[in-house]
Amino acid sequence: MGKRVLVVDDEPNIVLSLEFLMKKAGFEVEVARNGQEALAAIARRPPDVLLLDVMMPEMDGFEVCERLRADPRGRATKVVMLTARGRDSERQRGLALGADAYVTKPFSTRDLVARVKAMLEEG
C-alpha cells in the first residue's frame, strides 16, 4: 500500500508541479486548492504527508495545521509547510504549531522529494 500525500496550495501551477513530483516518487496524491478543501480531505482520511502552503486566502496554512493537530487522527500526519515569505518568526510559528518541516519557495524539487521520503522512512 503506497503512502498518501495531500498537496494544498492556491496556486494551480504549484499544485500541478507538486502533484507530478509526488506521483513520480511513487506516492498516492490528493490535491486541495484552499484550507476548507484541505480540511475536508483530511476529515475523509488523514494523509501520511501534508504539503501545505502558508499564504492562502480565507484560511491560511497555520490554521489548517493547527486544526489538523487538534484532531487525534491527524497527529501521525507529517506536515511540510511551504512559504514564499521566509522569515524566521514565521518558521518558528509553523514549527510551534506542529509542522515537521518548513520549506521556502522556490524550493529544489529534488531536495523536497528526498525530504518527504526521508520523513516517511523515519516515522
Partner: protein, 904 residues
C-alpha cells in the same frame, strides 16, 4: 483743572475696563458662546497693526516730511488685497497641522526643524523688542507731556520714572491676559475681543482729536491749507518734501508689506486667532478701509502743527494743550495708550508662545538629565516659561528704550523692527509656493539676512546712542571703506533703512534660492514641502498605521501637557464622534495617534509634539508616501546614531540615547521589511513554478511530448507574470516617489479607447469575449500622457476579461461627457465586486478571488497603478455595479480646458 495724576488714574481705569472685556469674552467662550464670530471683530483685531507708532509717529513724521508716512500703510493694503490667496493658504495649513506661531509655521514647513524654529524665534524676539520699546517710549513721552502741562498749573511732583511704571503695569497686564491656559491654538477669545475694542478706541480718539484740531482750532481743511500756503510751507505736500527717493519709497512700501505678513502679532491675530476662514473675505476690504480712515486726519493735524511751528512725536497732545483743551489731550493720550497696549499684549503673547514652544521646550525635552519626558504634569512648566518670557520681553524693551531708543525717533525704531521681521518673509512666501525651498536654503537666507540687518541698522544705532565709536561708520569695519555699515560695498545715496533692507533682503533671498537649489532637501523636508504647497489637495489624504501604542499611553501623554480635564474631554469628544468608547487597553489607531499629536502640537508646537509622540509610539504613522517616509526616518535615525557614536566617549549618558536611536532604527527596519516581504512573496510564487517545472523537465527527459509542451507553456506564462510584476512594481514606485516622467500632451480619449480595444482584440477573441464600445461624444480632448492612459485602459480591459464567464463573456466600454470631465466606464458581466470591497480593490496587492473564483493571475498592482495614473491627471477612479450584472470600473479625466485653467 485735570491734573496729570488723573491721567494715571484714567490709564488704570482704562486697563481695568480692558481686562473686564477680556474676562467677559473668555467667560462667554467657556460657556460656548463666542463673541468674536463676526468678521468685524476679526478685522478690528487685525488693526493691532496700528500701534503707538501710527498714533504718534505718523503725525510727527508728516509734520516734517508730508506723505512720507504713507508707504507703511500702502504696503499692508496691497497685502490685504491678496488675503484670499496668501492668508487663505496659510490659514488652511495652520488649521490642518495645528500651527501655534509663525516660528512653528516656518519650522514645520522646512521639515519640523527645531534649529530653524529657534532661529526664527530669535529673529522675532530681536525684531520685536525695539518695537516694544517704541510703545514704552510713546506712552512715557505722552505722560511726560501731560506732567509738564500740569506742572505749569499745579505743584504735584512728577512720578520719577513713568517708563518703568508703564513697563511693569503692561507686563502684569499681558501676563494676566495671555497665559491663563496653555493651548496656543485654542483661541484667546477674550484677548481678541479686547484688542478689537482697543482698535475702536484708538480710531475714535484719533478722529476726535483730528476733528478738534481741524474744526475746533481751525476752520476746516481749507483753512489749514490756506494758512500753510500763506506761511510758505505748502511744499510740505509734494514728493520732494518726503526726502524719499524712488527706491526709498518703493522699498518702504515693500518693507511694510513683508513685515505685515511676518510680524508675530499679525500672524497671531490673522491666523492663530482666526475662528472662521470666511472672515478673510470681509477683512480684504475692511482692513485697508480702517487704515485709510485712521490716516485721514494725519495730514491735517501735521499741517496744523507746521502752521503753528510745532512738530515731533507728541504733536497729538501738544496741539490740544496749546489750545487749552486738557480733555482732548487726555483723549489723545488714551488713544495712544490703547494703541500701545494692544501691540504689547498681542506681541508678547505671540512671542512667549514661540519662546516656550520653539526655543525652550525642545531644548529642555532633549536634555536627558531633566527627564521631562517622564514628568507628570508639564502644563505648569509651560505656563511659567511663557509668563517669564513676557516679563523678560518687556524688561528688555525697557532696557532698549533706556540705552538706545531715547535718542532715536519713533519712526526709525519702527522701521528697524520691520526690517528684522521682514527677514522671515522670504521663508514664508517661497515656502508657500515653491516646493524646492529647503531647510538649508532657509537657514542660509535667514542667517545672512539677519546678520546684514544687524550690521547695517543696529550697529549705526549703537553708534548714535553713543555705545560704539563713530569711526566704524566713517571708515568701515577694520578700516575697510567697502564695509561701512551705512554704505555697504559703496552703495550710497539711500536712506539707512532702504540701504539695509535692500542688502539684507537681497542677501536673504539670494542665499535662500541658491541654498535650496544646491542642496537636496531631506525626505521629511520634501514631504512637508508637499503638504504645505499642495495643502488644498492634501487635506483628505488617508493614512495607514503600523505603529503600536495603547489608548491609555496617549491619554497619559495628553494629561501631562494639557491637564487631566482637557485630556479627558478630548478623548470623550472623540469617542462621541466615533459612537463607541475608547477603552484604555485598546490599541490606538492611526487617527487617534494623529489626533493626540495635533492636540499636543497646539500646546507645545509641532516639533516637540512629534518628539513626544514618537517617544511612546513604537512604529510610525505611514502616509501616502509610505515608503518615502519610512526610508527618510531610517536615514534620519542612522544619521542621528552616527552623530551620537562620535560623542559617546564624552558622556556616558549619551550611550542610553544611542541605544534608543538604534532601537528605533530596528523598528523602522521592520516596517521596511514588511513591504519587502510582500513584494518578495509575489516574486517567489511565479519563481517557484518556473523552478519546479524547469527541474522536472531536466530530471525527466523521457516525458511525453504533450506533457512537456504543457510544462514549458507554464514556464513561459509564469515568466511573463514575473516580468509584469517587476514592471508594475517599478511603475508604481516611480509614480509614488514622483520620479515618473510624464509626457503630457493633448489626446483624444476616443482614440485612446479605440487603440486599447483593438490592441486587446486577440485576447478577447481567444477567450470568446464579446466587446462593445459606445461613444457619447464626438471628440474628447484631454491633457494627459497618452501611453499611460492607454495602459489604464488595457489594464481595465484585461482585468474585466479575467472575471467574465468562460465563452459567454461580455465587456462594454462607454465614453461620455460629465460636466467638466469625461467619464469612461468599463463594464463586464462577471461576478461583480461586493460593495464593501469596492474601495479595497484599488489597494496594492489586494486581489479578490478565493471563494468567488480561483485566484486571478494578475499582479495585484494593476488597479493601484490605474488609480495613481488617473489621479495624477486630476481624475477619479471607482468601482460600481454594472448594468451587465458584473463590475463597472469608471474613471474620469478633466476636459482639457478645465485642466489648463486649474493649472494656472
Amino acid at each position: 483743572m485735570i491734573g496729570a495724576l488723573i491721567a494715571l488714574l484714567l490709564s488704570l481705569l482704562y486697563l481695568g475696563l480692558l481686562f473686564g472685556i477680556a474676562n467677559y469674552g473668555d467667560r462667554m467662550a467657556a460657556r460656548g458662546a463666542t463673541l468674536i464670530g463676526s468678521p468685524l471683530v476679526y478685522t478690528l483685531s487685525l488693526a493691532v497693526y496700528c500701534s503707538a507708532w501710527t498714533f504718534f509717529g505718523s503725525v510727527g513724521l508728516a509734520a516734517e516730511a508730508g506723505v512720507a508716512f504713507l508707504p507703511i500703510y500702502l504696503g499692508p493694503t496691497v497685502i490685504a488685497v491678496l488675503f484670499p490667496l496668501l492668508h487663505g493658504k496659510i490659514l488652511a495649513i495652520a488649521k490642518a497641522y495645528g500651527i501655534t506661531s509663525i516660528a512653528d509655521f516656518i519650522a514645520s514647513r522646512y521639515g519640523k526643524s527645531s534649529l530653524l524654529g529657534g532661529l526664527v524665534t530669535l529673529v522675532a524676539v530681536l525684531g520685536t523688542i525695539p518695537y516694544i520699546s517704541l510703545q514704552l517710549k510713546a506712552v512715557a513721552n505722552s505722560l511726560d507731556v501731560l506732567f509738564a502741562a500740569s506742572l505749569a498749573q499745579r505743584t504735584d511732583g512728577p512720578i520719577p520714572e513713568p517708563a518703568l511704571l508703564v513697563t511693569l503695569v503692561l507686563a502684569a497686564f499681558s501676563i494676566l491676559f495671555g497665559t491663563r491656559h496653555i493651548d496656543a491654538t485654542e483661541h484667546h477669545e477674550g484677548m481678541v475681543l479686547a484688542i478689537a475694542f482697543e482698535s475702536l478706541v484708538k480710531l475714535a480718539a484719533f478722529i476726535a482729536v483730528g476733528l478738534f484740531v481741524t474744526y475746533g482750532m481751525f476752520e476746516g481743511f481749507g483753512d489749514i491749507f490756506g494758512r500753510l500756503a500763506a506761511a510758505g510751507r505748502d511744499g510740505l505736500l509734494t514728493m520732494s518734501a518726503t526726502g524719499l527717493s524712488y527706491i526709498d519709497w518703493m522699498t518702504y512700501t515693500l518693507l511694510a508689506a513683508l513685515a505685515f505678513l511676518a510680524l508675530p502679532r499679525q500672524f497671531q491675530v490673522a491666523v492663530i486667532e482666526n475662528v472662521d476662514k470666511d472672515h478673510l473675505r470681509t477683512a480684504t476690504w475692511m482692513f485697508p478701509l480702517y487704515l485709510l480712515v485712521i490716516n485721514i486726519f494725519v495730514l491735517p493735524v501735521a499741517m496744523a502743527g507746521a502752521v503753528l511751528g510745532r512738530g515731533g512725536d507728541t504733536l497729538m497732545l501738544d496741539l490740544p494743550l496749546a489750545a487749552g483743551s486738557q480733555i482732548f489731550a487726555l483723549v489723545a493720550y488714551i488713544g495712544g495708550l490703547s494703541a500701545a497696549t494692544a501691540m504689547v499684549i498681542v506681541a508678547t503673547i505671540a512671542i512667549s508662545t514661540m519662546i516656550s514652544n520653539d526655543l525652550v521646550m525642545p531644548a529642555l525635552l532633549r536634555v536627558e538629565r531633566l527627564r521631562l519626558g517622564q514628568r507628570h504634569d508639564l502644563s505648569g512648566l509651560v505656563l511659567a516659561i511663557r509668563r517669564a518670557s513676557i516679563f523678560l520681553q518687556l524688561l528688555a524693551g525697557y532696557a532698549f528704550f533706556r540705552l538706545v531708543a531715547e535718542r532715536i525717533e519713533l519712526v526709525s525704531i519702527g522701521l528697524i523692527s520691520f526690517a528684522a521681521i521682514a527677514q522671515l518673509a522670504p521663508l514664508i512666501l517661497l515656502g508657500l509656493f515653491w516646493r524646492q525651498a529647503s531647510l538649508a536654503g532657509a537657514l542660509l537666507g535667514l542667517i545672512a539676512g539677519f546678520l546684514v540687518w544687524f550690521y547695517t541698522l543696529i550697529v549705526p544705532a549703537l553708534v548714535f546712542a553713543g555705545w560704539l565709536e563713530p569711526a566704524i561708520l566713517e571708515e568701515g569695519l577694520f578700516g575697510l571703506a567697502l564695509l561701512r555699515p551705512e554704505a555697504l560695498f559703496g552703495l550710497e545715496g539711500l536712506t539707512p533703512v532702504t540701504h539695509a533692507v535692500l542688502w539684507s533682503l537681497g542677501a536673504n533671498t539670494l542665499l535662500m534660492v541658491v541654498g535650496s537649489l544646491a542642496t537636496r532637501p531631506s525626505d521629511l523636508g520634501r514631504l512637508q514641502a508637499i503638504l504645505f504647497v499642495d495643502v488644498e489637495q492634501r487635506q483628505s489624504s488617508t493614512r495607514l498605521w503600523r505603529g503600536e501604542t495603547r489608548v491609555a499611553a496617549l491619554q497619559d501623554l495628553l494629561v501631562r501637557f494639557l491637564g487631566r480635564e482637557r485630556a479627558v474631554r478630548v478623548f470623550a469628544r472623540e469617542a462621541l464622534r466615533r459612537g463607541q468608547s475608547l477603552r484604555a487597553g485598546d490599541r490606538a489607531d492611526a487617527e487617534l495617534v494623529q489626533l493626540a499629536e495635533r492636540q499636543l502640537a497646539r500646546a507645545i508646537g509641532a516639533t516637540s509634539a512629534r518628539l513626544m509622540v514618537a517617544s511612546i509610539v513604537r512604529g510610525e504613522v505611514i502616509g501616502p508616501d509610505a515608503l518615502l517616509e519610512i526610508l527618510d526616518e531610517t536615514s534620519q535615525a542612522i544619521e542621528y546614531s552616527q552623530k551620537l557614536e562620535q560623542k559617546s566617549h564624552e558622556l556616558e549618558n549619551l550611550t542610553a540615547e544611542l541605544r534608543r536611536a538604534n532601537e528605533r532604527l530596528r523598528q523602522l527596519d521592520q516596517l521596511k521589511d514588511d513591504f519587502i516581504a510582500t513584494v518578495s512573496h509575489e516574486l517567489r510564487t511565479p519563481l517557484t513554478s518556473i523552478r519546479s517545472f524547469s527541474e522536472i523537465l531536466l530530471d525527466h527527459p523521457d516525458l511525453p511530448g504533450e506533457q512537456r509542451r504543457q510544462f514549458v507553456e507554464i514556464i513561459a506564462r509564469e515568466s511573463q507574470r514575473l516580468t509584469r510584476l517587476i514592471d508594475d512594481v517599478l511603475d508604481l514606485s516611480k509614480i509614488e516617489s514622483g520620479r515618473m516622467e510624464w509626457e503630457v500632451a493633448d489626446h483624444d480619449l476616443r482614440r485612446i479607447i479605440e487603440e486599447a480595444v483593438s490592441a486587446s482584440e486577440g485576447l478577447m477573441r481567444e477567450n470568446g469575449i464579446q466587446v462593445s464600445v459606445k461613444f457619447g461624444v464626438a471628440r474628447a480632448l484631454v491633457r494627459c500622457d497618452g501611453d499611460r492612459i492607454t495602459q489604464v485602459m488595457l489594464n481595465l480591459l484585461s482585468n474585466a476579461a479575467k472575471f467574465v464567464p468562460a465563452r459567454a463573456g461580455r465587456i462594454h466600454v462607454e465614453l461620455r461627457g460629465l460636466g467638466n470631465e469625461f467619464l469612461v466606464r468599463v463594464e463586464d458581466n462577471g461576478p461583480g465586486v461586493p460593495p464593501p470591497l469596492r474601495e479595497a480593490i484599488f489597494e496594492k496587492f489586494r486581489q479578490i478571488g478565493g471563494s468567488i473564483r480561483d485566484k486571478p493571475h494578475g499582479t495585484g498592482l494593476g488597479l493601484a497603478i490605474c488609480r495613481e495614473i488617473v489621479q495624477h491627471f486630476d481624475g477619479r477612479i471607482w468601482c460600481e455595479e454594472a448594468k451587465l450584472g458584473g463590475a463597472a470600473i469608471c474613471f474620469t479625466l478633466p476636459v482639457r480646458e478645465a485642466r489648463l485653467r486649474a493649472a494656472e
